[in-house]
Amino acid sequence: MDRKSIVIRFDGQAGDGVLSTGQLLARAAARSGYEVLTQSFFLSEVRGGSSTFQVRLGYDPLLSPGERPDVVIALDEESAVKQSRELASDGLIMHPLGCDAETLGLKAGQESHGLDWKAIAVAAGATARSQNVVAAGFAAALVGIELGILEAGVAQRFAKDAAVAQANVRALNAGYESVTTALNGSRLSRRMAPSKGKPLLLLSGNEAVALGALVGGIRFYAGYPITPASEIMEILAKHLPRLGGKFIQAEDEIAALAMCIGASYGGQPALTATSGPGLSLMCELIGLAGVAEIPLVIADVQRAGPSTGMPTKDGQADLNLAVYGTHGDVPRAVLAAQTVADCFRQTIRAVNIAQKYHVPVILLSSQAISHSQETVELPNLDSISVYEEPLYPGPQAGEYQRYRAADDGMASLRAIPGTPGGMYRTGGLEHDVTGQPSADASNRVVMVERRAARLRAIEREHAKQETLGLPPNGRCQAGIIGWGRAASAAREAVPSLHASGWELGTFFPNLLWPLPVEPFQKLLEAGARVLYVCETNSSGQLAQLIRSQLSTLLVAHSVEVVSVTKDDGTPLSSREIQQQIERHAVNRTKHKSGSTLELGDIAHRASSEIPLQQ
C-alpha cells in the first residue's frame, strides 16, 4: 500500500447530519495520529439544500483538501449522482440502495456499492436519523481506523443522553461491520496503514485563531458577526470571561475596533476579528491606532470580495487594504496564515508584534482556512514565547513622555491609565513627545520619522523568522512565492515542479508588511530571474507589493515578477499553479526566440492580468 493520503467525501441533504459524520471520522483519525484536513462546501445562495463534507487523511502534513475524492459516501441518490462526477478515476462511491453504476455514469476503474444506511441504523436499534453514524462507522472501517476510538467519539457527542449514545454506538458498529458485507474484497485497497504519529488536535482555522489569541494573552475582544469570521468571536465570547477577560458584541465593526483601542489604551491586549467588509469599515481607526501607537490585532478572515461578493467562497484579495487601508502614512504589520497551525502561531506572533511595537497588526486568514479543520500538534505552552510589555512604572525624575525618542525605532514605555505620574493625553492628532497636539513642522518631521522607523524595526526583527528554501546546490533559476492558502498549494506544487526539471527557490512569507527584503535578495543572488507569485485574487496583490518594494533589486538583477492567480471563489490549487508556471515558461521561451517583447503590453498586463494569461 503506497497510498500517502485518502480523500473521503460525505454528501447528503441538509439535516442528514453529513457534517457530524465527517467530523466523527476526522476526529477519530486525528486521535489515531493521522494528519487530517477537512473541508465543507457551502452553497451561498440557498438555505437548506445539499451539504458536503470532505475528509482527507494521511501520514505527512497535508497542504490541501485534495481534489477528486477517492471515496464518496452519499446518503441520498441526488448526492450520489452529483458526486459521481467528481470521483477519482479509481474511486469508490457508496450510495443508498436503488441506484447503480449506470445511473451514476461511472467509468471503468470506478466502483460503486449500495447500502441502506437508514435500515442499518434502524436494525441496530437506533432511529433512521442515525444513518450518518452508520456512514461514519462504514468509512472508518474502510480506511482502517480503530472502532474503539470512534466509539469514544460517539459517546462523547451524545454524552447528554446515555440511551441515545448507546443506540448510536450500536449504529456505528453496524456501519463498521457492513464494510465486509457491502464490499467484495475491494476494501483492502482503501485501507490506510496504521499511523505512527501521536494523537493530534483537530482544529479549524477560526478555532486556531481564537486559541492563539488566548495563548498570546488577548484578554479583550469586541466584534461584530460576519461570515466566515464569526466563530472566532463565538469562541472568545465563551472563554474570555473564564480568564478574567472581557467580551463585547459591538453595534458594528467601527465600534468594535474603537472598543479594542480603548481596552488596549487601558493596557489589556485586544483583538477583533472580521472579514473584508468589516476591515474596510475599520480603516479610519487603524490610522488612529497607528498615530496613537496602540497595540491591536485585527484578524481578517478573507472571503471572495469585492463588496459583499461571494461570502461563503474563498479569496485572498484584502492584502492591499491591509497594507494601505487608511489615509496618510501609518505603520502597521500584516501577517498571513497559510494553514490552521499557522492561524495559531501567527495569531500569537501578531499579538507579540502589536504589544512590542505598539502598532496595529492585521492577521489575514481566509474562508478556506477558517472553516477547514487540520490536525495540529498539541502545543507545548511553555515553549511559546509571549511578549511581556514593560510598562512605565510610575513617578520618575523628569516628566513622563509617552512619545519620547527611542533607539532604533523601538516603542517607548507606555503608562497605563491608573499609573501615578504617567498621565498623558493622546489621540489621532499629530502630537509632540508628550502626546499634546502639535502642528509644528519640525516636530512633525520627528514624528513621521519615528513612525517610519518603527516599521524598519519590525522588519529587522521579523524578516529573519521567514525562511527561504533553496535547492541543495544553493542555486535556482526561478523563485516560487506565495501567501495564505495559496502558499500551501504552492508548497504542494514544488515537488512535482522539481521533478519536471525546475530549479526553484521557495519563499512563503507569513510577514507581508513590512515586506522582508533579505530573503528576496538571497533568492535573486541564488539566481532567480523570475518570481512566480501565487495568490487567490485577480490583480496579483502580493506581486505588486513585491514590485513596489523591491524595485531596486528587481532592476539590478533583471527580474520578472509573474502573477500566478485565480479569483473564482475557490482556493488556487497546486495543479493550477503548476499549469500556470509551465504555460508561462513556454510563452517566455517563444517570446525570447521571436521578436522583442512589447514592453508596454507587459507592463500593462501586470496590473490587469487574468488567470493563465501571464
Binding site: 467601527i254 472598543m259 480603548g262 481596552a263 481607526l285 505620574g421
Partner: protein, 283 residues
C-alpha cells in the same frame, strides 16, 4: 470644601477655545466635580471624539484620549470594560454624539457601561466653522443649510432616556456649579450617566447664546420623581421645547453592563489551567 483642589485637574496647557466659548464653563464644572469626587487624576481617564468640545481631555491633568469623530464613546466603553477600576468620563459635541456618533450613543446608553458622558451641546458644528448639527433648530440658516434647516432638532435628553440610559441630566455651561453637581452625580452613579450641557458657540452660532439658552430653560416640576422613567419622559413632553435643567432621571436599580448577566466567572480563574483544558478539548 473640595476633597482635592480643582487645580489638581488642570493641566499645563491652556484651553485653545475661543474666548467666551461655553466649553470653559463645562471644563470648570468637570474640574469641580472631579475635585469633589476625590479620586486622584491618574485614576481618571477622559475620552473624547472630535470637535471643539472634544478637545477637553487636553486641558485636564488626567489620562486623556482624543479619539476620532463620533467614536469617543466606544473607546471609553472599551477602556472602562477592560479596566473597571478606573473612572472613565466621555465627552463630545452634538455633532460628535448625535450625527456621526449617533449609533454609538444609542447603544452605549442601552449597554449601561459605568461611564459618565458629557455632551457639550452648542447646536452647531463649531470645529468645522458653523454647519447645521442634529440639535440645530428647524429652519435656521447655517453654512450647510443656506436655505434653512429642513430637519427637526434632536433632543439629546429624549434620545438618552428612550435608549435606556439610567442617569439623565441637563445643565447650562453658564452655571458650572450645577454642571459640577450633575457630573458628580454621574460619577457616583453605577451605570451610564448622561449629562447634556447647553454650551454655546460664540463664534459660529451667536444666535444661540448664554442668554437665549437661559431664557429657554425651565426648572423641573416640583416633586418630580427622578426615579420614574415615565415621569422623566413626561417632563420632556411638558417642557415643550424648553430645556428642563437638573437631574431628570436616575434608575436606582441600575445594573451596569458587567452585572447584567450573572457571571459564573467572577473570580479570575488560573489562565494556564483554563487554556490547557480548552486546548485539550480539541483533541
Amino acid at each position: 470644601m473640595s476633597k482635592e483642589s480643582t487645580q489638581t485637574f488642570r493641566c499645563s496647557h491652556k484651553p485653545t477655545w475661543c474666548p467666551g466659548c461655553g466649553d470653559y464653563g463645562v471644563l470648570n464644572g468637570v474640574e469641580r466635580a472631579m475635585a469633589e469626587f476625590g479620586r486622584p487624576p491618574h485614576e481618571i481617564a477622559v475620552v473624547a471624539g472630535i470637535g471643539c468640545s472634544s478637545r477637553m481631555p487636553f486641558f485636564l491633568s488626567t489620562y486623556g484620549f482624543h479619539a476620532v469623530h463620533g467614536r469617543g464613546l466606544c473607546v471609553a466603553t472599551g477602556l472602562k470594560t477592560a479596566r473597571p477600576e478606573l473612572t472613565v468620563i466621555a465627552v463630545g459635541g452634538d455633532g460628535d454624539a448625535l450625527a456621526i456618533g449617533g449609533n454609538h450613543f444609542f447603544h452605549a446608553m442601552r449597554r449601561n457601561v459605568d461611564l459618565t458622558y458629557i455632551l457639550m451641546d452648542n447646536q452647531i458644528y463649531g470645529m468645522t466653522k458653523g454647519q447645521t448639527a442634529p440639535t440645530s433648530g428647524h429652519g435656521i440658516r447655517t453654512k450647510s443649510t443656506p436655505h434653512g434647516n429642513p430637519d427637526m432638532p434632536v433632543d439629546p435628553v429624549w434620545v438618552a432616556l428612550s435608549s435606556g440610559a439610567t442617569y439623565v441630566a441637563q445643565g447650562l455651561s453658564s452655571n458650572p456649579k450645577q454642571v459640577a453637581e450633575l457630573v458628580l452625580g454621574g460619577l457616583l452613579h453605577r451605570g451610564m450617566a448622561f449629562i447634556n450641557v447647553l454650551s454655546p458657540c460664540v463664534t459660529f452660532h451667536k444666535d444661540v447664546n448664554k442668554d437665549t439658552l437661559k431664557a429657554a430653560s425651565s426648572e423641573l416640576p416640583a416633586g418630580h420623581d427622578v426615579t420614574s422613567r415615565g415621569a422623566a419622559l413626561n417632563v420632556l413632553i411638558e417642557a415643550d421645547g424648553s430645556y428642563p435643567l437638573g437631574l431628570i432621571y436616575k434608575d436606582p436599580a441600575s445594573k451596569p453592563f458587567d452585572e447584567r448577566v450573572a457571571s459564573t466567572f467572577s473570580a479570575r480563574a488560573e489562565s494556564r489551567t483554563v487554556i490547557e483544558s480548552l486546548v485539550a478539548s480539541y483533541a
